[in-house]
C-alpha cells in the first residue's frame, strides 16, 4: 500500500503551459498554545521533564475523571481569531474524535467539529476556513528492533505532552506552489509569535503543518482528489515534501492513473512518500458532542480582553515601516514578515539618534549584507553583530569615512568576531582614502597597467573602465571611494 516517489524527479507544474496541471494546496497548522497548564486539566506543560511526571487522572484518561477547559487557551484562541479576522462564534462546543492509538488514552481526542471557536477570516492572500481548539496526543518513544516507527516491536508512551492545548488553523485551498506555501507559513508563524500565543518552534513541534494537495488542469474550477501530507517539521521540508507529492500525483495522472485519497508521510532523508494509515480507518472518526464538557459561550468581556492583549501584527508593521519610517514596500514587508529581522532593524535604527544614512540604507544593509552573511533563517540578534554596531558602520559609509567595499570587510569582521566598527577600521587601516596624491598615483598606475582598456574608455566605451577600477580597488584593498576613482580616471584621461 505504499507509493514512493523521488523528491527530485519532477518540477512543479504550476505556471506551466496551457494544458498543464495546476497544484491546489491547503494547510492545516497545529500550534501548541503557550499556556501554563494543559487544555483540560491543571497539569503544567512539560519542557523536557522526565517522562510521565506531568500527568493526572484527566490526561491519563482514567475512569471517573472530568475535563474542564482552560480559560487561557480559549483566550489565546480568540486572539488568533482576531488576528485572522475570523468570526468569533458566540457559542462553540467540543466533540469527541474517536480512534484507537496508544498516544490517546481515552480512545478519543477532545476536539471541535462543526461548531468551532472561530470561522472564516484571512491572512495575506490566503483565506482561513476555521480555527478550533483541541488537545495534543501523548508522545510515543519507539524502542526495539530498529528504533523507528516501522519494524519496532515495542513503544513507550510518555503522557507529559498528552493534553497540551492546541489551536488548529485550517486554510482554504488558496495556495498554488510549494514556495508560496512555505512563504505564507512564515507569515503565519511570525503573526503567532508576535501574538505571544505560542513558541512556534517547528523543530520542537510547537508548530506543525500538514498539507492537503491536489492537482487539476490549470484554470479549472473543480478540485481534484486530494492527499494529506503529514507533519513536516521545517520550512525546507514543507517545500520539498509538497514538491515531491505534486510530482508523484503528476506522474500518476499523466500516466493515466488516478490519485487515491489517503494520508501520506514524507521522509526528508530519502525523499520517499509513504502511505500512513489504511484508508478505511483514516476518516471514520464518529464525532459526537463531548458530554463531559459544557459549551463555550464567548462573552463580550472575553473578546475585549483578547483585543486588549493584541500587539502590532506583521501586516500593520509593514504599513508603519513603509509610511512612518519611509522604507520601500518590499523592505517593509520583508522586515515585518520576518519579525526577528524587523526587531533587529528597529533596534539598529533606534541606536543612532541622528543617523547619517536614511533608514532605507540601513534596511538594505540589514536585509542584504548582514542576512547573506548569517546562516539560513538565523536571527541576527543572536549573531555577534550588535544592532548599534551595524548602525555605526552604515553611518561611517554614509559619511564616506569608509568606502562601501571596505564597509563590507568591516561587516565580515563584525560577523566573525563582533566588536566596534570604528576600532576595526582603525586596526585594519580601512579608512577611506581621500582623493589626494596617493590615490591619484594608484589610478595612474592602473591606467598604465591597463593601457588597452584606457584607450577604449577614451574612445567612448564606458564599460571598459572595469579592469581599471578593479586594479585600483585591489591596490587599495577596497578603501578607495568609487565615485572619486571614477572622477580621477576621467581627469587623467582628459575626458
Amino acid at each position: 500500500m505504499s507509493d514512493t516517489a523521488n523528491a527530485s524527479s519532477t518540477e512543479t507544474p504550476a505556471g506551466g503551459p496551457p494544458g498543464a496541471l495546476e497544484a491546489v494546496i491547503g494547510l492545516e497548522i497545529h500550534v501548541q498554545l503557550a499556556t501554563r497548564t494543559k487544555m483540560f486539566c491543571g497539569c503544567e506543560l512539560s519542557f523536557g521533564e522526565p517522562p510521565n511526571t506531568r500527568t493526572c487522572p484527566v490526561c491519563l484518561g482514567l475512569p471517573g475523571s472530568l475535563p474542564v477547559a482552560n480559560a487561557r487557551a480559549v483566550h489565546f484562541g480568540l486572539m488568533i481569531g482576531l488576528a485572522l479576522g475570523s468570526e468569533l462564534a458566540p457559542r462553540s462546543i467540543f466533540h469527541r474524535k474517536n480512534y484507537f492509538y496508544p498516544d490517546l488514552p481515552k480512545g478519543y481526542q477532545i476536539s471541535q467539529y462543526d461548531e468551532p471557536l472561530c470561522l472564516g477570516g484571512s491572512l495575506g492572500e490566503v483565506r482561513i476556513h476555521r480555527v478550533h481548539l483541541e488537545e495534543d496526543a501523548a508522545k510515543l518513544i519507539h524502542v526495539g528492533a530498529s528504533g523507528r516507527i516501522h519494524g519496532s516491536d515495542a513503544s513507550i508512551v510518555d503522557f507529559n505532552r498528552g493534553g497540551t492545548p492546541l489551536a488548529e488553523i485550517v486554510t482554504e485551498p488558496d495556495l498554488r506552489t510549494p514556495e508560496q506555501a512555505s512563504e505564507w507559513l512564515r507569515l503565519l508563524r511570525t503573526t503567532l509569535r508576535q501574538l505571544g500565543v505560542s513558541d512556534v518552534n517547528m523543530e520542537e513541534g510547537s508548530l506543525r503543518c500538514d498539507a492537503n494537495i491536489s492537482l487539476r488542469p490549470a484554470g479549472a474550477s473543480e478540485l481534484g482528489v486530494k492527499t494529506e501530507l503529514k507533519n513536516m517539521n521545517s520550512f525546507r521540508f514543507i517545500e520539498r515534501g509538497i514538491r515531491a507529492e505534486i510530482a508523484r500525483q503528476e506522474k500518476l495522472i499523466l500516466g493515466g492513473g488516478t490519485v487515491v485519497q489517503e494520508t501520506l508521510h514524507f521522509d526528508p532523508g530519502s525523499g520517499a512518500i509513504t502511505s500512513l494509515r489504511s484508508k478505511e480507518e483514516a476518516h471514520d472518526y464518529r464525532y459526537f458532542p463531548e458530554p463531559d464538557l459544557l459549551p463555550v459561550r464567548i462573552e463580550q468581556a472575553m473578546i475585549d480582553a483578547a483585543s486588549a492583549d493584541m500587539t502590532e501584527l506583521p501586516a500593520a508593521r509593514a504599513e508603519r515601516l513603509r509610511v512612518e519610517v519611509g522604507l520601500s514596500a518590499e523592505s517593509a514587508r520583508l522586515l515585518a514578515f520576518r519579525g526577528e529581522l524587523g526587531d533587529y532593524f528597529e533596534a539598529a535604527l533606534a541606536a543612532t539618534a541622528d543617523p547619517a544614512a536614511p533608514a532605507q540604507v540601513l534596511a538594505n544593509w540589514v536585509t542584504g549584507e548582514l542576512v547573506s552573511r548569517l546562516g539560513e533563517g538565523e536571527d541576527p540578534a543572536s549573531s555577534r553583530v550588535r544592532p548599534e554596531a551595524i548602525s555605526a558602520l552604515v553611518g561611517l559609509v554614509a559619511e564616506k569615512h569608509v568606502s562601501v567595499g571596505a564597509g563590507r570587510q568591516v561587516l565580515d569582521r563584525l560577523v566573525a568576531d563582533g566588536g566596534d566598527p570604528e576600532a576595526i577600521v582603525a586596526a585594519e587601516g580601512l579608512a577611506a582614502m581621500d582623493g589626494g596624491d596617493e590615490l591619484a598615483g594608484i589610478v595612474a598606475a592602473a591606467l598604465e597597467a591597463n593601457a588597452d582598456a584606457a584607450t577604449r574608455v577614451r574612445e567612448g566605451n564606458p564599460k571598459a573602465v572595469g579592469p581599471i577600477v578593479g586594479y585600483v580597488m585591489r591596490e587599495t584593498k577596497g578603501r578607495a571611494d568609487g565615485t572619486e576613482v571614477s572622477r580621477l580616471i576621467h581627469e587623467q584621461l582628459g575626458i
Binding site: T35, T37, G42, I93, L294
Partner: protein, 94 residues
C-alpha cells in the same frame, strides 16, 4: 437488518474481535437500536435546534493555574506493562 460487513467494520473500529457466532446476534441488536432511532427520526423536528447538551451553563472554564501531578510510580501503577519511565505498549505499526 444491517449487513455482516458493516458489523465487522464497526467491530474493527471499536477493536472488538467477534467470533462468527456473535456476528449475527450483534447485527440483530444493533439493528434494533437503529430502528429505535429511526422511529425518533419520524418526528417533525424542523423547528427544534439540535441538543448537544441538556444544560446551558456559562463561564465553566478553568483558570490557567497548575495543580499537583501524580507521582510517576502512581501513574504507572495500574499499567499492564511498564518500562522504567513509561507505559509499555505493542508498537502500533508492528
Amino acid at each position: 437488518m444491517i449487513a455482516r460487513d458493516e458489523v465487522l467494520h464497526v467491530a474493527r473500529l471499536a477493536r472488538l474481535a467477534l467470533s462468527d457466532e456473535e456476528i449475527e446476534p450483534m447485527a440483530r441488536e444493533l439493528s434494533a437500536v437503529l430502528d429505535h432511532i429511526a422511529k425518533i427520526g419520524e418526528l417533525d423536528l424542523d423547528e427544534v435546534a439540535p441538543t448537544s447538551h441538556v444544560v446551558e451553563v456559562t463561564g465553566a472554564l478553568r483558570p490557567d493555574e497548575p495543580r499537583p501531578c501524580l507521582p510517576r510510580e502512581v501513574a504507572l501503577a495500574q499499567a499492564p506493562a511498564t518500562s522504567d519511565d513509561g507505559f509499555l505498549v505493542p508498537s502500533p505499526q508492528a
